[in-house]
Amino acid sequence: MQWETVIGLEIHAQLATRSKIFSGASTAYGAEPNAQACAIDLGLPGVLPVLNAEAVRMAVKFGLAIDARIAPLSVFARKNYFYPDLPKGYQISQYELPVVQQGTLDIELEDGVCKTIGITRAHLEEDAGKSLHEDFHGMSGIDLNRAGTPLLEIVSEPDLRSAKEAVAYMKKLHALVRYLEICDGNMQEGSFRCDANVSVRPLGSEKLGTRAEIKNLNSFRFVERAINYEIERQIALLESGGAVVQETRLFDPDKGETRSMRSKEEANDYRYFPDPDLLQLEIDSGLIEQMRADLPELPDAKRQRFIKEYTLSAYDAGVLTATRELADFYEAVVKAAQGEPKLVANWVMGDFSAALNRDNLDIAQSPVSAVALAALLNRITDNTISGKIAKEVFEAMWAGEGEADAVIERKGLVQITDTSAISKVIDEVIAANPTQLAQYRSGKDKLFGFFVGQVMKQTQGKANPAQVNDLLKAKLAED
């Protein structure tokens, strides 16, 4: 039988506020355990939550970016369950009336086809604390620093049909929240995590199959692997006459499999009701318009502009606009280099990005600034150095040996463009290699590369490659 996969994602994006959603405690990551858990976060008797204005603004911004309806009235509800890292015995969330309703996000698939994914809702809620199960004399340790951190839970429609689509959607959302500067997107620290609802059904069937929910996936790779494993598991189960059980599962990255966590049947009885401690949230059109005016250029628009303005390929524009930081850096180099946007693109995507990756640095930490890189690229454009030598200069700049011109000067790397000087070297090379010359002339064209290599070697790579090619061709053809 042919099966169709149906996936919906719930993504929790931690909002980049300074203080918590309902208290004035700090949200900074990495503090001493419980140093940022105040009486409100601990749920002590008599405390009252007061909503953080910035969290609301961020939710509105997100809603506008996905073309959603911003609810003029929304309601906070209590989601009741018991767990030690949830001190109140309930999580404050939104249930029937979320702040963001019915948006869409376009994703691009590998074959270049664009697909629109529905976003059912995005709602504000508080995060729980953290349980540490290492041994504390048979007890668990609870750190409530994260309790009360604002989250935006973004729930997609079951519109995704493969693990690849799910990853494309998640990456797009990840880029979007970072463009909007509402979430730092740090997946290791749990600022952006994903639950995947996965089911399969016979191809052509309208009815949804029973789904399993895979919890807490915190990398793109895990999302893809966990979903693919889960699809295989469910199909094998159904084809052998079994049935999928609705349950929560965890992905074990070491074994590459999902396993049952707990049956969701009972846990599902959250008995939501409106939180009497919080009044309804009103969002007026003034705030919405203010947020709309505040929206930055979004990834899709920026990509289209890069294609047009810099005549880049769709692929290059996609890579360069993947993050706002990289796009800004690229534009700063183009501006400082006064042109050659394709050359700049190659360098920013190539040597520059490779060096960042190699040294595990963010763009902000780059030892080579946009202006410094532009100065280097200008030396390629004006023929002072070749592209190959530029790589050497770049590495020296990266290592802190100074600006491009200083490095070129000190290392004597200025390109040789003097025709007579290059001709002289070519003559010497030809004279020193009579055997290869004879072979070349008898039709072994491949030896051309050998001669180029010898000339470059004699000039320490400084001869202008285009001139070497032209002169060498002429000289080898002479009799």
Partner: protein, 95 residues
Amino acid sequence: MSLNKDDVVKIAHLARLAIDEQSIPAYAQNLSDILAFVEQMDRVEVGGTLPMAHPLDMAQRLRADEVSESDQRALLQQGAPAVEAGLYLVPKVID
């Protein structure tokens, strides 16, 4: 709406309340009476009325995003039965 024994057991479990076996019928009766009392309101026509989320007809006041709480861990942990290395200790929980 009337609650049976199983409903009572389930509600007690969700609320983490320990109840003894003999009192279950009484709880079932009392809870069913409360529900019957509230059910009288089902006769009111509310088709065109928005559900009320809060009895006060006011909007939520918002707070500026500023850190206003200092670290009071030492004070707050005085009330905890067990702490270690800054953590609150609780009976072991594993998913």
